[in-house]
């Protein structure tokens, strides 16, 4: 369902992604691990169409459509979702309003009527409960003044509201304490379904204890240098990345 082919991207003259190939089939969870500076976060930005990377080469197919030819909002409406590593603060914009706007953008795309505030309020209560989030989250402005952990939870709340088919988690475990990590990870794991794909970008393997990946990839120097099953993550945790990088050369 999700097919990255020979994806290259640069900042200025510096090539960051040097030809990435990756296929995620429906129902699969893949993890991408790698040292700092390997291109993990760049990959997330390129896939969502961040303005820093408008000139990517290659192709990214989601259910047959090439995302690289679409605007970022169109990519999202095709079912691509990124839980950001550093969710941005948006002062003055109410969180519930924002969620409803995003939800209604999806409804519109699907040719359905917009949901009014009252119905939406009912709809969201149940999602909040899943994440043990307090109702007061909705009253606050989007990520504004949120702690690191609150921001990450808010990302997952959006995931539950929008129900995308292709989910990318970018370092979602960073900034979470043990309890929050458990709640967030379990929620994502429960999100797995035969028609959905998940790509977990992470530095450490602890998140993968909860969201067991089908395939683990190692990203180094802008390329996927090794792929394997879950045991690869444990091996990396144990031995570091040096050996993989050495092996790749």
């Amino acid at each position: 369902m999700f097919n990255i082919k020979d994806l290259k991207a640069s900042i200025g003259d510096k090539e960051i992604l040097k030809g990435i190939n990756l296929t995620i089939n429906p129902g699969e969870v893949h993890a991408i691990m790698g040292p700092n500076g390997s291109g993990k976060s760049t990959l997330a930005k390129v896939l969502t169409g961040h303005p820093d990377f408008t000139e990517a080469e290659g192709s990214v197919l989601l259910k047959g459509k090439n995302l690289l030819e679409l605007d970022p909002d169109e990519r999202a409406l095709e079912g691509l979702f990124l839980a950001f590593q550093y969710p941005v603060e948006i002062p003055g914009v109410n969180n519930e309003e924002f969620l409803r706007m995003a939800y209604n953008a999806k409804m519109k795309k699907n040719g359905k009527d917009a949901v009014d505030p009252l119905d939406f309020s009912d709809f969201i209560q149940e999602k909040l409960a899943k994440l043990s989030m307090d109702e007061s989250f909705l009253e606050r402005n989007v990520n504004h003044g949120f702690s690191g952990g609150e921001k990450k939870r808010n990302e997952i709340l959006q995931l539950l509201v929008l129900e995308p088919e292709m989910v990318i988690l970018d370092e979602t475990d960073s900034g979470l304490d043990i309890d929050a990590l458990r709640i967030v990870a379990k929620t994502v794991d429960a999100y797995r379904r035969a028609d959905r794909g998940i790509l977990v970008i992470t530095h450490y393997q602890r998140l993968l204890d909860y969201i067991k990946p089908d395939i683990v990839h190692v990203l180094a120097n802008g390329k996927i240098v090794k792929s394997g099953d879950k045991s690869l993550a444990l091996e990396l945790e144990d031995k570091g990345y040096d050996w993989v990088e050495a092996e790749a050369k």
Partner: protein, 480 residues
């Protein structure tokens, strides 16, 4: 989305830029004593008014144009402007049906209901076209409550004593260069009088439309609220697109006696000039001031400034009565080559007087947006309080925002608070919206509206939606 794209989105279509084909009588350009006399004669004014105008004109001649603002524009040739224009067919109108159909269409296009069956529920409208008032709705119904709402020229005819007593009492003709000019040549405006113990039963509003080319509009508005009375008033403004700049130099005076309350809202959308070259557009040089003359009186200014090539105004309050309250809520959006130098002045004179200033400046394109405000707490104003918050938002990287708050406190028993912040709409914020499926126009509008929420909530409900939509329109993408 890149910065350029954010800037592109901030482009705009000015949908009020059409010119109506209405036969207009315009007096020859230039300003001299004869022109002043001619205007007064045209309006069939009482003698005191002519004398007042001539006094103002002679004073104006001794003044020079002020140059202390943060604005740039070529010197205005005051003899290259016509000071009076009126639609030709102007017999006394007996009912709305007598209004020139072309005029009716014009106001309909502007979304202003002057035809009775289309009127806004619970809003009385005075429509002013160039130098004359063409229609006032709900006049009779208001009179039943003793409320007078009519063109100023009609008030001079019917209520000369009230006009004589208050005109120039808040903004004297000696106040400043443009106030003197206005006093000499003002052509029309709205007059509101709320008698004692009366709450005006509906919103009042005036729509100003400049249609004739190379004409100045000099309207003058006077609102008087007697003891224990209350009114909410809104003005809206539009103009066609011309290559040449047009001068709009209005004066607004408000008087609130004991326990009276005046809420004055403005949605200003004059033509801003060509988006690319900056050519044309309205010079909006306006003096607005309210006098809280009575004890516990209150004057509240709310302004949404989105149009004009240059906006230069400081709606102010003279807080004379003890326990009186002055408020100023402002959103000023500038885009392309627009310039705005706006803010307020709060003069605390009475004891325990309070003022609140909330100003939100938004700059996009190559525009310059300046907040300039004065809080003056005099020796007599023991126990005075002021809170000021002036925030700026920058969209793109070619615009600028300035803040000049002046604070002058002359006693030790008063309290002041001042907050200011500058925010920039970032690519990351827009990208965040987009990643959730929300397009960039909606994203930008939502961010800007959020920034302005504190001010929008002060608008009468009928107009809050209008203001939100106007802002969206101003930020609309013109290309693709």
């Amino acid at each position: 989305m890149s910065l350029e794209e954010i800037e592109k989105i901030a482009g705009q279509n000015y949908k009020y830029g059409f010119k109506s084909d209405i036969e207009t009588e315009v007096i020859p350009k230039g300003l001299n004593e004869d022109v002043v006399r001619l205007i007064s004669e045209r309006k069939k004014e009482p003698k005191f008014m002519l004398e007042y105008r001539l006094k103002a004109y002679n004073h104006w001649k001794t003044l020079t144009e002020p140059d202390w603002t943060h604005l740039e524009y070529p010197t205005i040739d005051f003899n290259d402007i016509s000071y009076y224009a009126e639609p030709k067919k102007k017999e006394k109108l007996e009912s709305m049906d007598d209004v020139d159909p072309e005029l009716k269409r014009t106001f309909e296009k502007l979304g202003i209901p002057i035809v009775e069956q289309k009127r806004l529920a619970n809003v009385a409208v005075d429509a002013i076209f160039d130098s004359v008032s063409v229609a006032t709705t709900y006049k009779d119904k208001l009179l039943e409550h003793g409320v007078v709402f009519c063109p100023l020229s009609e008030a001079l005819e019917k209520y000369p004593e009230i006009v004589k007593k208050y005109l120039g009492s808040v903004v004297p003709h000696t106040d400043n260069f443009y106030a003197a000019l206005n006093a000499a040549v003002f052509s029309e405006g709205s007059f509101v009088y709320i008698p004692k113990d009366t709450v005006c039963p509906m919103e009042l509003s005036t729509y100003f439309r400049i249609n004739a080319e190379e004409t100045g509009q000099f309207e003058r508005t006077l609102i008087v609220c007697e003891e224990n009375s209350k009114v909410s008033y809104l003005e809206g403004c539009t103009a066609p697109m011309f290559d040449k700049n047009q001068l709009h130099a209005a004066v607004v005076e408000l008087v609130a006696l004991d326990n009276a309350e005046i809420k004055y809202s403005t949605v200003q959308n004059w033509y801003a000039g060509d988006p690319k070259t900056g050519k044309g557009g309205i010079y909006n040089f306006v003096t607005k001031r309210g006098k809280c003359a009575g004890k516990s009186s209150k004057i509240s200014w709310t302004q949404i400034e989105t149009g004009s090539a240059i906006t230069w105004k400081y709606p102010s309050c003279l807080l004379i009565g003890d326990d009186s309250v002055g408020e100023f809520y402002s959103v000023a959006l500038t885009n392309h080559h627009q310039q705005a130098d706006t803010g307020t002045k709060m003069y605390h004179i009475g004891k325990n007087t309070k003022s609140t200033i909330i100003s939100k400046g938004i700059s996009a394109g190559k525009s310059i947006n300046t907040y300039r405000g004065l809080v003056q707490i005099n020796k007599s104003a023991k126990g005075a309080e002021n809170f000021t918050q002036c925030d700026s938002m920058l969209i793109g990287s070619d615009c600028s925002a300035n803040t000049f708050p002046y604070i002058d406190v002359r006693n030790a028993q008063s309290t002041l608070g001042h907050e200011a912040a500058t925010v920039k709409v970032t690519e990351d914020q827009i990208h965040y919206f987009q990643q959730r499926g929300i397009n960039m126009e909606d994203a930008l509008t939502t961010i800007v509206n959020g920034f302005c929420a504190d001010v929008f909530k002060e608008l009468p409900t009928e107009f809050a939606v209008e203001a939100t939509q106007l802002l969206s329109l101003k930020l609309e993408n013109t290309v693709g």
